[in-house]
């Protein structure tokens, strides 16, 4: 995908009509297209160096808008049919790289001094041409300055290498003073993002890129093998050792979560390191103290900033839950478990690196309490609120420092990936404060939104029967506080960075819960990320905000069909018809009490007779036939729709899924491949691919596809379950543990996709 961005510039939503005029590369590409297939390979590596005046539009216009937002129609002058398109890209992939220096230099000349290095010689000079920034001040940036600046530039060059598809080389960097938490954060997010960026590349290439990046930043590529790291909480250590002593034979059971807990802790539990590195970068009198004075007059206003503590508590809660399922009575009684359990309830708080007992009533028999507790979970939220109030303002400042510092790294990533090109996040933040973007009101709003969302989550846990349909927000969201998370989310979605887009869009809907488009896009992102529950929850919110939105109604129909909820699915598909300007006259005169499948199917068949060239009608028909398991007709409908919309990747996936469910796995794989050619980081299609291979008994292949899908979205719980089954079927029980501990590094190493 990154390749296509390069030539097509699909990251912007620019005017498609200006395609060939303002983009010399586009012109060049067109000129070369029919002439020499060998020369095309190199085209991929040519960035759009067109300078633009807009600060955000770093790519030239979308010539072939492959990554258009679904549902937003735009003409695609380049798309004369799928065959040509894929041929074009295929020849890209296969052709020879050599003999392109001339072309390369040609392109460089009009825009600046000739590139000094050849590809692969020296990272900075080689990468710089890819930086299509307007200001060429940083043409050859020395890697010095503040650590922030160095890191920012370095990460930029990594991303740019991704766009160019050339190997990224490690570069010597000065000491950056990254804390473990920073590193963990960079490692995790860059790993997921690299999978999205290089979705069309081999696993080896991705790993090489990642290793080069992490190596330069002095980050170990793999921390999963680390055991329990002693020292930070003495108390925890003691309990841990005690529990291990009790539990020698069964110790391995706990290894998985201990690692997990350690990783979690590295993020949350090291305020000192945070503070130190922060001071090193910004001095003790940095902006934080200023900010404190101006903004922290009341602690309540900044409630929203306390996310990490909540997240840590939530993490402990999950941990305690998992532990409670361990039936070994010795383990159940161990102090370690009690400790974690207490922590999960907020009775113990991690305050300034010390574990303190909360002022709330201490536990007697923890197990009984836990039982009572899990029946009535809102109590932990109450406790937490109490706890929060009892904290003095000083603690708040500390916590806030910790928290803000954490966000800073994330923000940087945001900038990296959003091409905001803010040289120094602190400057930007200052600006925001200056502009009042973070004024007291908005802070209040954030705090309020956060409270609401916490209440919602707590409520959701209280009524597990109704939890379906309640949107579950991510714990740590770096985009909360972003100036325009919606725009950010759209951009990220277009680039196919689904998991990031989800975060940005979540930040938007927390701020602006009535934003239909944000909810809708969030729903689509979740569906493409293979999470129907969240997709439905988000789409329901979109539908609440705008009950007549056609795309939302159709998406809900599809998701409910996936979940086999016929009544619901019919309701939304019929709603689509009732709200469609062309077909609403077909709708039944009165809203019937209950919809019957045959009535709805008949109405849509009538609509198809009226407008045989409306792809959407055929899509809905295809979904309806899926609902009645009339797969042959469903396949015909989708195939008809594809004649009208050959570039709709989600449509190819619908066709594939239908074929797969009607025992035509081989055909399904071809359809999925079409979807992936159009959208390489379409997690659902990767997962579906795995299902189809598994259903044909080709477990080894299926494992590779599942692992690939999971690398792009480790939160895809279904895919983890599927992977487990394929591992068992392939007699790879040796990897089950890696699957259960969700050790993606190991799995990727073991099952690279060719």
């Amino acid at each position: 995908m990154a390749m296509r961005d390069l030539v097509s510039g699909s990251t912007s939503c620019g005017d498609p009509s200006s395609s060939s005029s303002s983009n010399p590369l586009g012109g060049l590409a067109n000129a070369l297209l029919g002439t020499s297939s060998k020369t095309q390979e190199r085209l991929k590596e040519i960035p759009t160096t067109t300078p633009t005046n807009s600060g955000l539009q770093f790519y030239s216009e979308a010539r072939e808008n492959l990554n258009e937002l679904p549902g937003l129609e735009s003409d695609k002058p380049f798309a004369d049919g799928s065959s040509q398109g894929s041929q074009f890209f295929n020849s890209f992939r296969s052709a020879d790289r050599a003999g392109f220096e001339d072309t390369w230099n040609e392109i460089q000349r009009p825009h600046g001094p000739p590139a000094q290095g050849r590809v692969g010689q020296f990272p900075i000079s080689e990468l710089e041409p890819f930086n299509d920034r307007v200001d060429y001040v940083h043409r050859q940036p020395p890697l010095d300055g503040t650590p922030q600046r160095v890191l920012s530039r370095f990460l930029h060059s990594f991303l740019d290498s991704g766009r160019g598809g050339i190997p990224f080389h490690p570069a010597p960097l000065p000491l950056l003073g990254l804390s473990e938490g920073d590193k963990q954060c960079i490692r995790d997010r860059s790993s997921i993002m690299a999978r999205h960026l290089f979705a069309d590349k081999s696993e080896e290439f991705i790993n090489a890129q990642l290793n080069a990046l992490l190596c330069s930043l002095d980050i170990e590529a793999n921390t999963h093998d680390k055991g329990h790291v002693p020292g930070r909480f003495r108390e925890l250590d003691d309990y841990w050792n005690e529990s291990q002593g009790n539990l020698q034979p069964g110790a391995h059971v706990a290894d998985g979560w201990i690692n997990e807990f350690n990783q979690q802790r590295e993020i949350h539990a090291n305020p000192d390191a945070w503070a130190h590195s922060f001071e090193r970068q910004h001095g003790v009198n940095g902006w934080v103290s200023e900010f404190e004075q101006s903004q922290l007059s009341s602690a309540d206003q900044m409630r929203g900033a306390n996310t990490p503590n909540i997240a840590a508590m939530e993490q402990s809660r999950l941990l305690a839950n998992t532990l409670a399922q361990n039936s070994d009575p010795k383990f159940q009684n161990s102090k370690f478990l009690q400790f974690v359990s207490k922590m999960s309830r907020g009775e113990l708080i991690n305050d300034n690196n010390q574990v303190k007992e909360n002022s709330l009533p201490a536990s007697g028999d923890w197990a009984a309490e836990y039982q009572q507790h899990s029946g009535n979970r809102h109590s932990w939220a109450d406790e937490f609120l109490n706890n929060k109030i009892s904290n003095g303002p000083e603690q708040w400042a500390n916590e806030y420092t910790t928290n803000e510092k954490h966000l800073s790294t994330d923000d940087q990533w945001v900038n990296e990936f959003s091409k905001l090109h803010v040289n120094d996040w602190a400057d930007e933040f200052g600006e925001h404060i200056g502009k009042g973007a973070f004024g007291e009101n908005s802070t209040d709003e954030w705090a309020q939104a956060f409270d609401e969302y916490m209440n919602e989550q707590v409520a959701a846990r209280q009524r597990p029967d109704n939890s379906k349909g309640v949107y579950v927000f991510s714990d740590l969201n770096p985009y909360v506080g972003h100036a325009n998370p919606f725009k950010e989310g759209q951009e990220l979605f277009r680039k196919g960075l689904l998991s990031e887009a989800v975060l940005a869009l979540e930040a938007e809907v927390l701020k602006n819960s009535e934003n239909v488009e944000a909810w809708r896009l969030l729903g689509i992102a979740h569906a493409e990320n293979d999470d129907d529950q969240q997709a439905i929850a988000a789409m329901m919110r979109a539908q609440e905000a705008d009950p007549t939105n056609l795309e939302v109604l159709l998406a809900l129909g599809v998701s409910h069909t996936n979940e086999l909820e016929q009544t619901e699915a019919l309701k939304f598909l019929y709603g689509w018809l009732c709200n469609h300007p062309s077909y609403r006259r077909l709708a039944l005169p009165e809203q019937p009490d209950s919809l019957f499948y045959n009535d709805v199917a008949r109405l849509f068949n009538e609509a198809a007779e009226i407008a045989p060239d409306d792809a959407d009608i055929h899509i809905v028909l295809g979904v309806l036939y899926n609902l009645s398991r009339d797969y042959d007709k469903a396949i015909q409908s989708f195939q008809r729709a594809l004649e009208l919309k050959p570039k709709d990747y989600s449509l190819w996936n619908k066709l594939g899924a239908t074929q797969a469910n009607s025992v035509q796995s081989a055909d399904a794989i071809m359809a999925y491949q079409q979807a992936l050619d159009l959208k390489p980081n379409y997690v659902r299609a990767w997962a579906n691919m795995g299902i189809s291979y598994a259903n044909q008994g080709m477990y080894d292949e299926s494992i590779r596809y599942y692992v690939r899908a999971l690398a792009m979205n480790p939160k895809a719980d279904n895919a983890w379950q599927y992977l487990r089954i394929s591992l068992s079927c392939a007699s790879r029980n040796d990897m089950l543990e890696a699957c259960d501990s969700r050790n993606l590094d190991l799995l990727q190493k073991e099952f690279p996709l060719q």
Binding site: P464, D532, T561, L564, V663, S665, A666, R724
Partner: protein, 350 residues
């Protein structure tokens, strides 16, 4: 092939053969399981899947006087079910009701609505009217087929009509056609016999080798699936009863039970005495199998076996799909272990 142990387990105390989906419970995914212990007092467990879907818990536990050989939940009342049991020398059959406030009683007792007493032979199974509230029941013993009229409020059951299977046949079980409620299938050693219950006369029969179990495809009319003695599974179109439309290899030992998914056409579960449960996806669109398609593109022909669940230690006689969450099924092995699995991993999403 190793079975994935992703299932959720639940232990009955004793050996058991029978598990039934509680179709009338639309709020929960629930199953009823009955034990078959020679010495101990037998029990009926009302088992429920937690809303999170990762835990099975005992919603109710009731003692039952005899070994349970067949158990079937009433399709319109979740507290009513039927059992076929063995008492001393003879078989009996009864309709039971779970007490209303069973959760608040210390040792809730099942209430016997009525027993079906007219049987002379060894009773095999009781069939409820396929869907909705209805007073008709079918019971099958080795020699006869009975049609009953059940009055729950009066706690009576009257035989409406009966027919003999004939001297040469010993009936072993049956199924009620969900598409045509006048038609009932019953299995004997070497054929499946069909009755029209309006006339109580045999209509057609399918000759095949020793059938153990039969199930109708709830999604497609005229399609039945049979488990054959010689370990295979056959799919039949009743309009062409001479040869099966498809044969699946079944199990390495006897295939005991077959169950069609209530929603997914062609998704079939089978279990057997080889201690495995097999999940099949058999396309019932005949043209796909018989036409030249198969010859054209041999890669399109896929093994219909989706998965083998082998995490069992004994023969499996009990199988039940959930009607509420049709991607979930429960299996019961003879050692009394209930395992609930999800087939979602085999379903592609649009």
């Amino acid at each position: 092939m190793q079975g994935a142990s992703s299932g959720i387990g639940y232990g009955l105390k004793y050996q058991a053969r029978c598990i039934s989906n509680v179709k009338a419970d639309t709020d929960h995914t629930s199953f009823l399981a009955g034990t078959l212990s020679l010495k101990e007092e037998n029990e009926v467990h009302l088992i429920r899947l937690s809303s999170s879907g990762n835990e099975l818990f005992c919603e109710g536990l009731f003692s039952h006087p005899n070994e349970i050989w067949d158990l079937s939940s009433c399709p319109f009342d979740q507290r009513i079910f039927s059992t076929v049991y063995y008492s001393g020398e003879s078989f009996g059959a009864a309709i039971w009701q779970i007490p209303e406030l069973y959760g608040e009683l210390n040792s809730p007792q099942l209430e016997k609505i009525t027993s079906l007493d007219s049987h002379a032979g060894k009773i095999k199974c009781i069939l409820w009217w396929p869907s909705g509230r209805h007073d008709k029941l079918i019971s099958i013993d080795e020699e006869n087929l009975y049609l009953w009229s059940l009055d729950i409020s009066k706690k009576t059951a009257q035989v409406q009509s009966k027919d003999s299977a004939g001297m040469l046949h010993t009936l072993s079980g049956g199924a009620w056609d969900p598409h045509d409620v006048n038609s009932v299938a019953a299995t004997c050693e070497s054929s499946v016999q069909f009755w029209d219950i309006r006339t109580m006369k045999k209509t057609i029969s399918i000759e095949c080798a020793h059938v153990r179990n039969v199930d109708y495809n709830p999604m497609k009319e005229h399609i039945i699936v049979t488990a054959e003695h010689e370990s295979g599974i056959h799919i039949w179109d009743l309009r062409k009863p001479k040869v099966p439309t498809q044969e699946l290899p079944g199990h390495t030992h006897w295939t005991w039970t077959v169950k069609c998914n209530p929603e997914y056409d062609g998704m079939i579960l089978s279990s057997g005495t080889d201690s495995t449960v097999n999940l099949w996806l058999a396309s019932s669109s005949n043209d796909l199998l018989t036409s030249d398609r198969r010859a054209d593109s041999p890669t399109c022909w896929v093994d219909p076996l989706l998965n083998t669940y082998s995490d069992y230690e004994d023969s499996i006689y009990g199988l039940a799909w959930s009607s509420r969450e049709p991607w979930i099924f429960a299996s019961l092995s003879y050692d009394g272990r209930v395992v609930v699995e999800s087939v979602k991993p085999f379903i592609s999403k649009m």
